[in-house]
Amino acid sequence: MTAWDDSRRPAPSFVSRHRWAWGLSLVLAAASAASLMVGRYAVPPGDILGFFMALYAGGEGMDASRFQELHVLLLDVRLPRIVAAMLIGAALASSGTAFQALFMNPLVSPGLLGVLAGASFGAALAMVFFDHWLAVQVSAFLFGLIAVGLALGIAALYRANSLLILVLGGIISTGLFASLLSLVKFVADPYDQLPAIVMWLMGRLSNVDARTVTVLVVPLLAGMFALGLSAKYLNVLSMGDGEATALGVNVRRIRCVVIFWATLISALTVVMAGRIEWIGLVIPHVARFLVGPNNEILVPFSAVLGALFLLIVDNIARNLFPVEVPVGVVTELIGIPIFLFVLLKTRKEWA
């Protein structure tokens, strides 16, 4: 039963409809507070509490050097990383959910139209030719958008409003930018630039700073909010283009809106932390398994679940091993068994 069928019943309240997402948000809030307590730099919980009380009191009540030390650790290093992990997890999961609904295909991930391949190429290109962090971020973002623009352009060449042609355009664009990335890796200095590119492609949160998070938080939240608002239309699209059009939905416009925002926030995740795979594919499945296929509930729930997932994974990456491990690698190692488990549980539906 879809949400469209449900619409003939009295509409549940906003809070009631999203009770799962709200509940999980409380867990997320608790997890983020706990994450602030753990790290390589051991600080007793009492000191952390004391720091925030001193912060509230304008720095009073704590030794100035200790206050400064904890300010750097908690607000400049740990907090931006925690916020970045949640934002990236939420962005990738919500864009993955939206893409799976839009393309009516559970194997779709945010990278379908080439945004991750394009952004990876853009970052690598800037690492080799500009060697400036801001240039790397801007280039990653622009080439992410260019790659999706290319996929849309290829689809437009056929003058067909077909999802299949769009997917084809995405495959071509992804292939092209993957090749260009290989080319950049070939010419990169193996002593210096190539390791930097490889690290970037593994996905990492170890160097996220407060400034980047501050700049990107608004567009990321705006994108996720826009996808949330589009969710009810995605429910209609799931009935097919003809039905949706008959119900007064502008199919083309909805597709453009969803693709635009999903692309934008996916590209911004690469800008922030490099390439982190699997979240956009796995989390929508887990979320669907838990709360069902209604996109109005699924999209926000996926976002919160994605945030929680990457937050936990990053805690593992930064605390569990003797050395820091790229978060993208840990995401894959943990995400794949979860994906297999969910597939096993839902195999009857897939058969």
């Binding site: 790290g39 290093v77 200095d189 002593y191 390791p195 930097a196």
Partner: protein
């Protein structure tokens, strides 16, 4: 390659052959490379090709004063300011053809045209592949400081520069001993903690750095009995380690450190003790033939009060003049010490 008569040489792992090879009617000698393979190389070796990590392979040859014997140019990735001293030490490198693609695969036709007497590589698979095509190939490898000495001895034999190779080892031994003596009585509490890193990758990229920091009388914050070549770390690690001295991999990263507010409480930043690793034929922080100078430079940085008669700049001129056969100018000394992008 068939060899009929071999005489054992004084060096372990080296056998001499006074006979011509069947194929080339040229004297050959059998040497044992770092992979433990017995390889017949011509005598004398006048033409050598380097494949793979060309700059570091070249640096060994340059240190034996045989730069003119290198028949290939620098690959694309090494044609950058970072490796400019390669062509300063051996100007002929600028005109030599490139023999490997961006993926380090050899261009066999160019290699055949160059007719090298011996090819040097660090890739055993590539060595065996080239050997099947008729090239004499030596695999070189170094992970520990003593491996550098073994490589110098091997190449000294191959190039008939055994005296120079032993001179290099003597010099290195004496220099390390002088530094070792100077820091021997320094208690741990007075040894500075040091982080050598690349900010681009947020890694301590080379295990050898733990060794040269220790030799120079410091405590490497990444030395924890690890076997991993590189250590990935986060900003939180830097705060936890709180190093007295921070050595970055390029000069541009010094300013980056000072501007990064997350590092503003780190002792190295507070005390303005952030430096870029010097670079000559190769960056000094890596495994390189210039490693004795790395130790000396780091020692002077960490214990300026104990440097006494050890003068880094004067020693650099001696080192490059004696082994690379190149007289450094004062400007070049400063340039090397400032690090190269």
């Amino acid at each position: 390659m068939t060899v009929s008569l071999c005489l054992l040489a004084s060096l372990p792992g080296v056998e001499w052959c006074a006979c011509p090879s069947a194929a080339q009617a040229q004297s050959t000698r059998i040497v044992r490379d770092a992979a433990g393979r017995a390889v017949a190389v011509p005598v004398p070796v006048a033409r050598v090709a380097t494949l793979g990590p060309v700059p570091v392979l070249n640096s060994f040859i340059l240190a034996l004063g045989k730069g003119e014997a290198i028949v290939n140019g620098l690959p694309l990735f090494a044609r950058s300011p970072r490796h400019k001293y390669q062509t300063i030490f051996a100007p002929t490198l600028a005109e030599r053809p490139v023999i490997q693609g961006p993926g380090r695969e050899p261009d066999l036709e160019v290699l055949l045209t160059l007719r090298p007497d011996v090819v040097l590589t660090m890739d055993r698979g590539m060595a065996e592949s080239l050997e099947r095509k008729g090239f004499a190939v030596l695999v070189l490898a170094w992970r520990n400081p003593e491996d550098v000495a073994a490589t110098m001895l091997l190449l000294g034999t191959v190039f008939d520069r055994e005296r120079e190779a032993r001179d290099y080892l003597d010099y290195t031994g004496r220099l390390l001993a002088r530094v070792g003596d100077a820091v021997a009585d320094v208690p741990d509490s007075r040894r500075p903690t040091v982080l050598f890193c690349s900010l681009k990758t947020m890694t301590q990229p080379h295990l050898i750095a733990d060794w040269w920091i220790r030799q120079a009388g410091g405590i490497s914050v990444t030395e924890n009995g690890r076997h991993l070549e590189s250590v990935l770390f986060s900003m939180e690690h830097v705060l936890k380690w709180n190093p007295d001295i921070l050595i970055v991999s390029a000069p541009g990263e010094i300013d980056q450190v000072y501007r990064d507010t997350r590092m503003r409480t780190v002792k190295a930043v507070v005390n303005r003790q952030v430096y870029s690793i010097p670079a000559g034929a190769h960056p000094w922080g890596y495994r390189t033939v210039e490693q004795p100078l790395t130790v000396l430079w780091a020692f002077a940085l960490m214990h300026p009060d104990k440097a006494g008669g050890l003068n880094v700049k004067a020693e650099m001129k001696t080192f490059y003049g004696r082994f690379f056969q190149y007289s450094l100018t004062d400007a070049q000394v400063e340039d090397m010490l400032s690090g190269i992008p």
